[in-house]
Structures are given as structure tokens and as C-alpha cells.
């Protein structure tokens, strides 16, 4: 659980937000990360006057950089922050493609610093609980995962929702099962930029199917998640995981909203980031996870272009 009250032993890491860009109109820095850092006792935000990242790090003595540089230069800024001695929270996507992400992976390995891609959905309480149950053998050997990640309304991503949302459920499936993907087939939705169906073949015969999309926008809260769920079938049973839980439903004259006291996915991710930094233990999500997810979405884009399944080379794992 997140320590909600700072204790004398809590190390508040000096954290520099860098950039407010993202895919399309996204500003995850202002909308998600800065509020979560501010609320988290393990971090204290710093501001820099310098407009050069290395200089800003020197100016502020930052220990952590939250990088939301424009996607085209994001990997460069992450590497720059690592080389300057800072741990990094990297907005999703961490890089434009898997090859770009490998540069980040190399820099993180060389510096020994924590670089966490902001795949925050893998930290959700329901997902983590399911992952633990799976690893404990609760449903035996998993052989299939069916997943839906459908967002209701919001600004469409110009690069397409496969590149945007796709990484989240792909990362969750990989985090849940730990089985690498060997083959990717993708089918475009009616509007290929809005929705995609991913059909993945993993190690040990596991298959997964992931729908990713942005719905046109109903009366639900703008840009809210309409459906984020995982059904995992195993040799001994089945788990249904609604990743929007835990949540209480509050229905008022203003509409319906979900409420929950404890940290959401982003707050829980920051706790994991803090733990990795102060403990020196490997982070629960690192650059290799970004590479793995990007390899899948890269292959899905190729499959969409070709109309056939695309194999992934195990030697590149």
C-alpha cells in the first residue's frame, strides 16, 4: 500500500518534470504525472529555469526526471537524463519504436539507474491481484487471455489508437502471463486509426486477443474507460478481471462516477518507482517491458499493412 503520510524515513526524491508533450493533444505530464508526484510523499517537485535538460538537472539537483518530451525526441531526452545521473519516469510511448526503445534500454543498463516506462495500467490493484493469483497457480496453466481496452470519447490520437492505447493492454497481458509474443496478427476496425483487434501467439501455446479502440463518445464522462478487462483461461479455472476496479459507483444528478479512496494506477506506479530507486531492487517495469510492448505494436502495424500474421524473432528478445 502507498504510504499516504510522510514518515521521517520517507525519502522525498527531487523530481523534475520535463516536457508536456505526447501523442496528439495529450499532456500526461500536467494531467497525470505532476498531480500524482505532488500527492506522493516519496517525491518533491522541482522547477528549473534552464531550457536545456542537462542544465536543468544541474540547476535543480534533480534525482528523478519525468520525461514527457515530444515523442520524436523522447528517447534522446530519456538517455540525456540517465547520462546526467537521474532516474526516469518515461511517458508512454517511451520511444517511437522498439529500435528506439533499445537505445534507452542500453543507457539504463549502462548507468544502472531506474528508467520506468509509464505503463501504469499494469500496476492497477485488480491487475496486480490477478497477476499474483495467476503466478500462484490459482487457475493452473494459463492458455488464453481475452482483453478489451476501449475508451469512451476523448481526442483521437492522430497516430492511431494502436500506437496510443495499444501498449497498455499489451503490457498488462505480458505482465500477467510473462509469456513472450511469437506471432502477431492484427485486424483493423471500421476506422483503422480508431480501433484494432490484436491476435497474439505467445510462448507455451498461450494465445491472447486484445481489442483496442476509442468509442465515439457517449454520455459517459469524457475520455473515460468504457471497458478495460481481461479474461484469463487456465487449465484449472478462469479469472475475470475488470481493470477499472476497485471502484464504487456514485450516481447523482450530475451523472455517474467511479470513486475509490486508495491510489489509482499512476499513484501505485510512482510507489513502485520510488521503491526501485530507494531499494536498488530492479523496477517492476523497465525499458525491456517497453521494448517488448513496442515490438508487438510495431509488428501489429506491419500485420495491418500486410494482411497476414507477422512472426517475432525470439533471438531479438
Amino acid at each position: 500500500m502507498t504510504p499516504r503520510t510522510a514518515t521521517p524515513r520517507t525519502v522525498a526524491l527531487r523530481t523534475l518534470p520535463w516536457g508536456t508533450s505526447g501523442l496528439g493533444t495529450q499532456d500526461h505530464q500536467s494531467d497525470m504525472y505532476v498531480p500524482a508526484f505532488r500527492a506522493h510523499p516519496g517525491f518533491t517537485l522541482v522547477e528549473a529555469a534552464a531550457d536545456d535538460l542537462t542544465a536543468a538537472i544541474a540547476e535543480t539537483g534533480a534525482q528523478v526526471v519525468s520525461v514527457c518530451a515530444p515523442p520524436g525526441e523522447r528517447a534522446d531526452r530519456i538517455v540525456e537524463a540517465l547520462r546526467a545521473g537521474c532516474h526516469v519516469l518515461a511517458d508512454k510511448p517511451m520511444a517511437l519504436d522498439a529500435a528506439d526503445a533499445r537505445r534507452v534500454e542500453d543507457a539504463a543498463r549502462e548507468t544502472g539507474l531506474v528508467c520506468m516506462p509509464a505503463h501504469h495500467h499494469r500496476f492497477g490493484a485488480a491487475v496486480r491481484s490477478a497477476g499474483a493469483a495467476l503466478a500462484a497457480g490459482r487457475i493452473g496453466l494459463p492458455w488464453n487471455v481475452q482483453a478489451d481496452f476501449l475508451v469512451d470519447g476523448g481526442d483521437p490520437c492522430p497516430q492511431g489508437e494502436l500506437v496510443n492505447f495499444g501498449l497498455y493492454p499489451v503490457d498488462v497481458v505480458l505482465a500477467l502471463t510473462g509469456r513472450a509474443v511469437r506471432r502477431v496478427h492484427a485486424l483493423p476496425g471500421r476506422d483503422p486509426r480508431r480501433s484494432t483487434v490484436l491476435l497474439l501467439d505467445h510462448d507455451h501455446g498461450l494465445t491472447s486477443t486484445i481489442t483496442v479502440g476509442r468509442l465515439p463518445g457517449t454520455t459517459a464522462p469524457y475520455g473515460s474507460v468504457a471497458l478495460h478487462r481481461y479474461r484469463i483461461s487456465g487449465s484449472g479455472g478462469v479469472m475475470d478481471v475488470d481493470a477499472t476496479r476497485p471502484a464504487a459507483a456514485v450516481r447523482t444528478v450530475l451523472g455517474t462516477r467511479a470513486a475509490w479512496h486508495a491510489d489509482g494506477t499512476v499513484g501505485r506506479m510512482l510507489t513502485a518507482l520510488h521503491t526501485a530507486i530507494v531499494s536498488g531492487r530492479p523496477p517492476e517495469a523497465g525499458p525491456a517491458d517497453a521494448v517488448a510492448a513496442l515490438r508487438v505494436t510495431d509488428a501489429a502495424a506491419r500485420s495491418l499493412a500486410l494482411g497476414t500474421p507477422v512472426p517475432l524473432d525470439p533471438s531479438e528478445d
Binding site: 493452473g140 488464453n144 481475452q146 496478427h185 471500421r190 480501433s195 479502440g213 487456465g234
Partner: protein
């Protein structure tokens, strides 16, 4: 009040598991009368006769048709016999309600369709799910336009009940056509009917989950891409665990919204020492609705499910089995055309 002269006399052909439900539906339909039962096994035919008030029983279809002068047949025999029996029923000038699949291959389905076209009789494949409240609801909502143009359909029918033992013909792909033909056609037909669209390709993955020695895929995932742009992910499973598992789940997204029909949408749940399960839905009896629709067709209305629908479903099922074998998407049109 129907006059007696309007009563359609019907034979039930094949007296296995599903025949009793068809017979009950015939008894419940005032326009139909059970004229007899037919089964190649004497004991089965006789038992079905006893269960149905002592109606005449036969082991030979030709004799049954000739002696009873039946106007129609409800056929629920093993799948590999469907096409041949359909041709014989057409030749006898009788109408037909036939269990799915219409045939185990496209050529057989085509022969059946052509035979009924020549005979001018009704051929209705028993894609029974079309007559269930849940499927009609999804169809109603899509047709109302509320969801806009359909983008994605998910239909999952999952169970843990494998057929009794190795002797079951359903486990023999040479008799059942494989699981995509045996049960898969239910889902392939439904999503095609729901979307009202033309299926272009099928990409399928299969799994022998209950036993490595199975010759069929007890878990099937069939992904259909339609010409109009919709995609449907259909899951059909007999391989889930626990064996008591039974779920049906529907999701439809469109350019105007979303329909979700979760597994517990149709009735309450009961929790006891064996866990939580769904109470039997208290809605309409789909088999009775199907039989009434067939009676409508026999008495002059358009068939709710046409022979062409059955043929297309067979083509999609064959495409699914072929896709599993090759690992590639298969064009439905290629499958349907190559058997022409």
C-alpha cells in the same frame, strides 16, 4: 383457430440428445403434428416413439416418408448425414428443418440448397441461437441504428462440458466436420446476421484443451472481417474449467455507442456449495420460437433462416478449420466458390 386440414405432419429424424427438444417444440406448435420418429437404431426409434405417445417409428427414412406421407422433417442426425438426408427429403417433396451445420462441407450444403430450390420446398437450417431472446435483442438494437455502424462484435459461448466419451461422433471430425462446423457455425451465423454484412475473411485459432488426443478443437476462436468494415471475435469453447463453467458474453461497439450483454444479464445467480451459477433464464423458449418460425415458412412466410444462410455458415466454418490448419486468414468467398 387452425383448421385440421392446415396441420403440417412432421417426422423427427434422428432421436439423439437434441431430438427431444424439437419434439417438444412440435407438440407446442398448434400448426404441427408429430407424424413419426426415425432412427437407424431400432431401440432408439422405439424409445422415442414411446416418449411421444406411441407415434409410428421407423428405421428407414424412405419408408417413413412413404408410409406417413409427412409434409416435413426435422432432422437431427449426425452432421455427416445431413446433406444426403436433405436431398432425400427434398426428393420426397417435404419441407425441412435441419440441425446445424447444413452439411459438413460446402459441396454438400450446395447440393441441399439446390435440391430444395428445385423441389420448391422450405429448407431452414436450425441456427437456433437466432431465435433466442438475447440474440434477437442484439439484432434489434443494431437494427435500430442506436449503435451506428457496427465496428466490433465479441461473442463468447464458453463451457467446460465435453461430449460424454470417445464414442461421441461430435469428437470425430469426419462425422461432425470439426468443431467450427459443429458449434462454430452458430456464432458465425449469428454475427453475420447481426451485422447484416458480408463476411470476407476468417482468421481462427484452435486448441485441444481437454485432452491432447482430441481430434477437434474444443476451444475455438474465429475472427471474422466483414466487407463493410466490422470485425467479429467469436469464441466457442467446451474446454474451459471447471467443467461446470458456462458463460455467454456479447459486446458490440459501433460508431454510435456500445452494447454489452454480460454473462449474468439474463437472469439471477445462485450461489451454493458448488459455487456461483446462473439461474435458468425465464424468457422465451428458443426452440419453440424456431419451430413456430419454421411453421410460418412452411405455411408461406419467408424462412427466418434460409438455405443460403446455412451454406454461408458452412463456408465460414470450413474457412475457420482451414485457417487453424494454415495459420493464415482465409477468404470465405474462395471456400464457397471452390466447391461451386
Amino acid at each position: 383457430m387452425e383448421s385440421l386440414s392446415a396441420t403440417v405432419r412432421v417426422l423427427v429424424v434422428g432421436t439423439g440428445f437434441i431430438a427431444a427438444q424439437h419434439a417438444a417444440a412440435i407438440h407446442a406448435e398448434p400448426r404441427l403434428e408429430l407424424a413419426g420418429v426415425v432412427d437407424v437404431e431400432i431401440s432408439a426409434a422405439a424409445a422415442a416413439s414411446r416418449a411421444n405417445g406411441g407415434v409410428p417409428w421407423y428405421t428407414d427414412l424412405g419408408a417413413a416418408l412413404a408410409e406417413t406421407g409427412a409434409d416435413g422433417c426435422v432432422v437431427c442426425t449426425p452432421n455427416d448425414t445431413h446433406a444426403g438426408i436433405a436431398e432425400r427429403v427434398a426428393a420426397a417433396g417435404a419441407h425441412l428443418l435441419i440441425e446445424k451445420p447444413l452439411a459438413t462441407d460446402v459441396a454438400g450444403a450446395r447440393r441441399a440448397v439446390e435440391a430444395f430450390a428445385r423441389a420448391g420446398r422450405v429448407l431452414m437450417p436450425a441456427h437456433s441461437h437466432r431465435h433466442y431472446d438475447y440474440a434477437l435483442t442484439v439484432r434489434d438494437v443494431i437494427r435500430s441504428g442506436e449503435l451506428g455502424d457496427v465496428d466490433l462484435v465479441r461473442l463468447s459461448i464458453l463451457g467446460g462440458w465435453i461430449w460424454p466419451d470417445w464414442r461421441g461422433w461430435m469428437l470425430d471430425p469426419s462425422r461432425s466436420g470439426g468443431h467450427a462446423l459443429h458449434n462454430g457455425v452458430h456464432l458465425l451465423d449469428l454475427v453475420t446476421w447481426w451485422t447484416g454484412d458480408v463476411p470476407e475473411t476468417v482468421y481462427a485459432r484452435g486448441r485441444r484443451q481437454t485432452a491432447a488426443e482430441l481430434d477437434i478443437y474444443d476451444y475455438l476462436e474465429m475472427t471474422v472481417r466483414f466487407a463493410g468494415g466490422a470485425v467479429a471475435v467469436c469464441e466457442m469453447s467446451r474446454g474451459h474449467r471447471p467443467a461446470s463453467y458456462a458463460r455467454r458474453d456479447v459486446l458490440v461497439t459501433g460508431t454510435g455507442g456500445l452494447l454489452s450483454l454480460p454473462w449474468d444479464a439474463e437472469s439471477g445467480t445462485v450461489t451454493d456449495e458448488s459455487g456461483t451459477a446462473l439461474l435458468p433464464p425465464g424468457g422465451t423458449d428458443g426452440f419453440a420460437t424456431q419451430m413456430a418460425a419454421w411453421a410460418d415458412a412452411v405455411t408461406g412466410a419467408p424462412a427466418a433462416v434460409s438455405g443460403a444462410d446455412g451454406l454461408l455458415a458452412v463456408g465460414m466454418g470450413v474457412a475457420a478449420e482451414r485457417s487453424i490448419a494454415t495459420g493464415l486468414p482465409v477468404r470465405v468467398d474462395d471456400v464457397v466458390k471452390e466447391a461451386a
